[in-house]
C-alpha cells in the first residue's frame, strides 16, 4: 500500500471514529436510544463480536473510569490510543515531510506476522470474544 493511501484511509477512519463517538456521547447524555447499532455481526447473529463494546469502553475512558473501561472491552484502550496518536502523527509527518508513520506501520505489520506473536494475538482476541459473549455486551 502506498503512503498517501494509508494516510488518507487512517484520517478518514479517525474522522468517522470521532463522529460516531460524538454521536454516541450526544445520545447517552440525553438518554436517547442509540438509533444506529453499528455491528453488522451482532445484528445478524445476535452474538456480540470481539470488538463489541469498544465505544462504551472509550466513553468510560473519557469519564476517567479506567478499570470499568477495561472490564467492558480492553480493545477500547487500543482504539483510544490509535485515535489520539494517529492524526497528530500524520500531521507531524506532513509538516516535516517524513514518513515515520508509514515505516512504523510496515514494521508493525511485519512484526505481528511472526508466527508465535500472531498465535498469541489470535488467542487473546478469541479469549476476549468468549468473554464478550459471556458478558453478553
Amino acid at each position: 500500500m502506498s503512503k498517501n493511501k494509508l494516510y488518507s484511509l487512517l484520517l478518514i477512519a479517525c474522522f468517522f471514529g470521532y463522529m460516531y463517538l460524538g454521536f454516541s456521547i450526544f445520545n447517552a447524555e440525553r438518554n436517547l436510544n442509540p438509533g444506529i447499532k453499528g455491528c453488522l455481526f451482532k445484528n445478524i447473529t445476535t452474538i456480540p463480536c470481539p470488538s463489541c463494546g469498544t465505544t462504551r469502553s472509550i466513553q468510560l475512558l473519557i469519564e476517567g473510569q479506567f478499570f470499568e473501561a477495561g472490564m467492558v472491552n480492553p480493545f477500547g484502550f487500543i482504539v483510544a490510543f490509535v485515535m489520539l496518536t494517529v492524526p497528530v502523527w500524520i500531521f507531524a509527518d506532513l509538516l516535516l515531510k517524513k514518513q515515520t508513520l508509514f515505516n512504523a506501520y510496515n514494521k508493525t505489520e511485519h512484526f505481528i506476522r511472526t508466527k508465535w506473536i500472531a498465535t498469541i494475538l489470535i488467542m487473546l482476541v478469541l479469549l476476549n470474544w468468549i468473554w464478550n459473549i459471556y458478558k453478553n455486551l
Partner: protein, 112 residues
C-alpha cells in the same frame, strides 16, 4: 522463456491477476531467463473467489484482509467491528481487486 511455457502459465494463472496486468505479466515472463521458471511457478497466489467468500462470511472480523496478507488493515477492521459494518460492506466489492493487486506484488517480488 519459451512462449509455449508462458502461455501455459498464463492459462493457469490468469484468474489471479487484474486483466490490465496480464500483458505486463506475459511480457515479463517472455523476457525472463529460463532458470527463473521454477521460482515463478511456485509463487503461492491467493484466490480472489476464496477471498470474496471469506469477506462475505467473516468480513466484519477482518479475516479477509488477514487472508490476503493485509495484516494492518485486518487489525483495523477487527478492532472497529468492520468499520461499523460499512467498511465490511465496501470490502465485499473491493476485496477481489485487492487480492489481485497483492498477487501482482507477489509475482513481481518473485522475479526480483
Amino acid at each position: 522463456m519459451e512462449s509455449q511455457k508462458v502461455d501455459m502459465y498464463m492459462m493457469m494463472n490468469s484468474k489471479f491477476f487484474e486483466s490490465h496486468h496480464l500483458v505486463a505479466v506475459r511480457d515479463t515472463l517472455l523476457s525472463l531467463d529460463e532458470s527463473k521458471w521454477g521460482m515463478v511457478q511456485t509463487v503461492p497466489f491467493k484466490d480472489p473467489t476464496t477471498a470474496l467468500i471469506i469477506s462475505l462470511l467473516a468480513g466484519s472480523l477482518g479475516i479477509d484482509r488477514f487472508y490476503i496478507g493485509d495484516t494492518g488493515m485486518g487489525v483495523g477492521k477487527l478492532l472497529t467491528c468492520g468499520g461499523l459494518g460499512i467498511w465490511a460492506i465496501v470490502d465485499w466489492f473491493l476485496i477481489m481487486g485487492a487480492t489481485r493487486e497483492k498477487n501482482m506484488a507477489a509475482f513481481q517480488n518473485s522475479i526480483l
